[in-house]
Symmetry: D2
Subunit: 335 residues, 4 copies
Amino acid sequence: MLKIAILGCGRIGQMHAANIAQHPKADLAMVYDVYHPYAEMTATRHGVSIASTASDVFASIEVDAVLVATTTDTHADFIEMAVEASKPILCEKPIDLSLDRVNACAAKIVGTDVPIQLGFNRRFDPGHRAARNAVVNGDIGDLHQVIITSRDPDMPPRSYYETAGGLLRDMTIHDFDLARFMLGDEPSEVFAMGGGLIDPKMMTDLEDLDTAMIIMQTADGKQCHINNSRTAGYGYDQRVELLGTKGMVQSENKKEHEVRRFSSTQTETCAPYLNFFIERYKEAFNAEIDAFVTAITTGSKPEVGFEDGRRALMLAEAAYLSISQKRSVRIEEVG
Amino acid sequence: MLKIAILGCGRIGQMHAANIAQHPKADLAMVYDVYHPYAEMTATRHGVSIASTASDVFASIEVDAVLVATTTDTHADFIEMAVEASKPILCEKPIDLSLDRVNACAAKIVGTDVPIQLGFNRRFDPGHRAARNAVVNGDIGDLHQVIITSRDPDMPPRSYYETAGGLLRDMTIHDFDLARFMLGDEPSEVFAMGGGLIDPKMMTDLEDLDTAMIIMQTADGKQCHINNSRTAGYGYDQRVELLGTKGMVQSENKKEHEVRRFSSTQTETCAPYLNFFIERYKEAFNAEIDAFVTAITTGSKPEVGFEDGRRALMLAEAAYLSISQKRSVRIEEVG
Amino acid sequence: MLKIAILGCGRIGQMHAANIAQHPKADLAMVYDVYHPYAEMTATRHGVSIASTASDVFASIEVDAVLVATTTDTHADFIEMAVEASKPILCEKPIDLSLDRVNACAAKIVGTDVPIQLGFNRRFDPGHRAARNAVVNGDIGDLHQVIITSRDPDMPPRSYYETAGGLLRDMTIHDFDLARFMLGDEPSEVFAMGGGLIDPKMMTDLEDLDTAMIIMQTADGKQCHINNSRTAGYGYDQRVELLGTKGMVQSENKKEHEVRRFSSTQTETCAPYLNFFIERYKEAFNAEIDAFVTAITTGSKPEVGFEDGRRALMLAEAAYLSISQKRSVRIEEVG
Amino acid sequence: MLKIAILGCGRIGQMHAANIAQHPKADLAMVYDVYHPYAEMTATRHGVSIASTASDVFASIEVDAVLVATTTDTHADFIEMAVEASKPILCEKPIDLSLDRVNACAAKIVGTDVPIQLGFNRRFDPGHRAARNAVVNGDIGDLHQVIITSRDPDMPPRSYYETAGGLLRDMTIHDFDLARFMLGDEPSEVFAMGGGLIDPKMMTDLEDLDTAMIIMQTADGKQCHINNSRTAGYGYDQRVELLGTKGMVQSENKKEHEVRRFSSTQTETCAPYLNFFIERYKEAFNAEIDAFVTAITTGSKPEVGFEDGRRALMLAEAAYLSISQKRSVRIEEVG
């Protein structure tokens, strides 16, 4: 059994703890959270010990690997500590809000063979993966266009916005990674538009966006569109569409159940979409843990690693530059 | 934590064992199977002990309740033993293949307040339940028609057929129970037709059916249709449709994922349906365990009990009588 | 151009008149209706003459063929007149409400080679036909089960009920014909249940039904279910499902347009179904005329003729007998 | 009856001729085509006369209005002639491939009250219109995002490409108009990307595009995405999605019929999409004629006129400029 420690026992950390506890080849080793009650709640639930400091976790011989679900500002430090301690790490996205910090981290860990996996859970969603596999298997011929729809159900509170680092680094970062996964290639050029349509005043105050549209293309011309909204009145909307020369494949939303209703005013009405990401991507989060365990136990490189996290952030930076300069930005410009 | 023992560690027993192990308010107490390797496999997986005999299970003070997933011919005995030992029991369907034996069992346990729950898992499916709730909430007005489609993906082997007790007692029994649940009432009259369309020779040899259609009505005229097939080339097909004065509700099939494919010959092609019952009714099996635990811990009567098992078997008997006499059969005739 | 006269210029006759007028190989020849204003309205719209009597129509050398959309009690007479006048006839269903009258008519026209087509429009619906073709082409293997759902949007007024001849002869007659078309075979045995669930008092008064369920089987065991309701709160519901050894095909409802709506309480809500039969079966009614014109001009036998009308009525009679005697009825019994 | 003449009797002109002939308030007056056999074929079919020259049509007192379906290079001339002759005109899109020519035409006809309708048929599609109405009625709250998917089924031949005027002026022009219709507002800023992915060599030769993505925003920040492909292997794909603060509405594709197929490898497979625009937008083309007739007979301004055609072309020009300069282009820049 692979013994995995959790750093960060908030909502996402707790979910990961439960997933690790249920995994047939992994055990929860210990937990840590700077806010002690969270650590205690998770430790009690799973009958494991609480580390006093993060350093203790990395030093412990009872820990084979670590999962980091702390605040973003600690991610790069923990990745460096994990590499130093030779402990495989599964780190939540993003690596950091600053590309400089990410690049510094990259320089520090260069050449390491310690497995580092980034928490881009959406790649592991069975539907999204089946869509990508349709491309890989040649089912739709050569890929030409990728359309990613990614909308949150509700506007987060101002406090969340204040520390999240901006829509494109916090939310769209998932879509940038998904775009790279679906394209099987690097976007080389980015065009973006965004604004404050849901809460214009707050967005102006915070210099942030709540609604955005992006188009990108790869060096050989494949095109990708991402649309984002912080609030979709009908639920959490997560779709991917892939157009190829021979056909199309769509990965659609998941519902609470498969009931359809019919009345005098409507037909075939379906249940609400699964809401929110913990429910919608439940299978993906489990598959993500499984991929991490498999990578470590088989000695293979994680499917989605540090460089993927860095690339997604570069796309976010390019998109911000595009918005401010109202022009297409080449990825090298933010390298 | 409620300590539940498992009797019968075949495919279904193993699934129940895993569900109990994961339940936040229940623990697996011990296991038993007449075929020792099955008991051992399940005991090892969950780190519990193996009982030498079924009687030991009922006698054990470490056992708060039992789940019976043994062969059908043992169910009635185990129900009687559970009542005698005052241990709540969740027993797989059917109670017995003989209505006489079921009635004898009923007579023996009459007046007991030991909780007895029957394994009619489909009542607990979120979709089916939401459909029924639409009726209860008045969303579709007065209920007039119920249509149940229930088709297995593949013909079981001859050996299965030889002991299963006949299509209507083994497979349709679920649909008879679901019909009663959806109608919220007792069917009073049954018409049935059936034959051997998939494997006519085997069906003739075994005097069994592989394909059937049934219509039923309640005393106040509500109508219900069930169609069954032992093999639906496209997967496990489990649907319920409810027609009321104000509208309709359908509980549809569940798919592997929500991917749609488009090519030169087809559009909106969906993934295969979840196959087989353990996958399709995964949530239902968990909810069934949860309902059992809740009934015991809150002292309430299980939602679906012995009498439901007896009623479903009566409908099966009525349907057989209808097929042989080519007439409508009233439920009292088989009482 | 084939010159077709219309007998009966009510709602359905007017629709047929417009369809004939638009057909590239047919012209409207003249019209007749016992109620003169209807004849006048239709004649004016299409610039054709009005016949004084039905006999004049059959006698006219300007008429190549007749379409009969008069009241049911005149159909058999007009069929006999058409045969006598050697004018091909497309006659609305049913031939008559009395099987004796139908048989008498059959005896009178026996051996005729005058083309007689019955107005079973649903056979010509592109969706229903594609479903049947899937069977014919072997796409779903051997056919085992047919499920026909046929529900009207609204309860007709008492006056309609008083002359319609009973649910099974008036409404289900279409489904009996569709069952025969889909089975590609004759049902040999019929079980039926029915009652007054929508308007129990009126149904009791008129000894009629507003809700019914039927199961039938062919000599070689193929099964068919029909469910009917005089009022489906969500619109006109017309579906066919065919189960075979290799797969299934469903012909579903048609909507006003392909818009889907999403809000906080529902997803993927579709538009109302096309309502009523003139809208829903628009393409079918046109294809029916086209088939009639083609049969006449190519000298081939109409796809759906007198015997089909007689057989559908026999199934209705068998179903009534089944309801009254609460038993399965063999088709020979009503022959 | 409004007497409408057709200029241009190619495929689209013939379709319009048939639609006019069937319209209850309009008659086909006469036809003209520079290629005489086309004129003859259409004239014969509808029993109308052939004009020797386009001028004769505009001069004829038997002509109340004209429908122009000739080649693009004649549109502006005919619009000017129609205004001079005071004949209402329904002109196919685009007005011209040159914005200068369009502006010159605008200057020439400035102040006219002769009804001019542009052939942006998609606005009249029942589904697209219902989607727009959902916004107008407030069903989805404030509109934030519009997503238009517009893909042709097959790559047109090189000869078509050589005269069509470029993807954005020929094909996307429809989507630019639809964007304006759906937004209920003017896009003020355009970003575009495009390339030759289907036939890179031909696109390079002709300096044209076969695949494109565009994002636009209005002055108040509403966003719109258009994606185009000259070949969608699965058929003609025409979708619109509207996101608002309270919900979403989608106008989806139309199929040949509503049959769903199920086999061992797939479920819920639908029929191919209607292919091509004459079939897919059949109702829209009829509604377009009806709107033209209504505008003329009621003296109201056509819903979609000259300025709409000019605006759509401006968006195309802005998009071309964006592609060449890799920057966002403001609509004023191409004014």
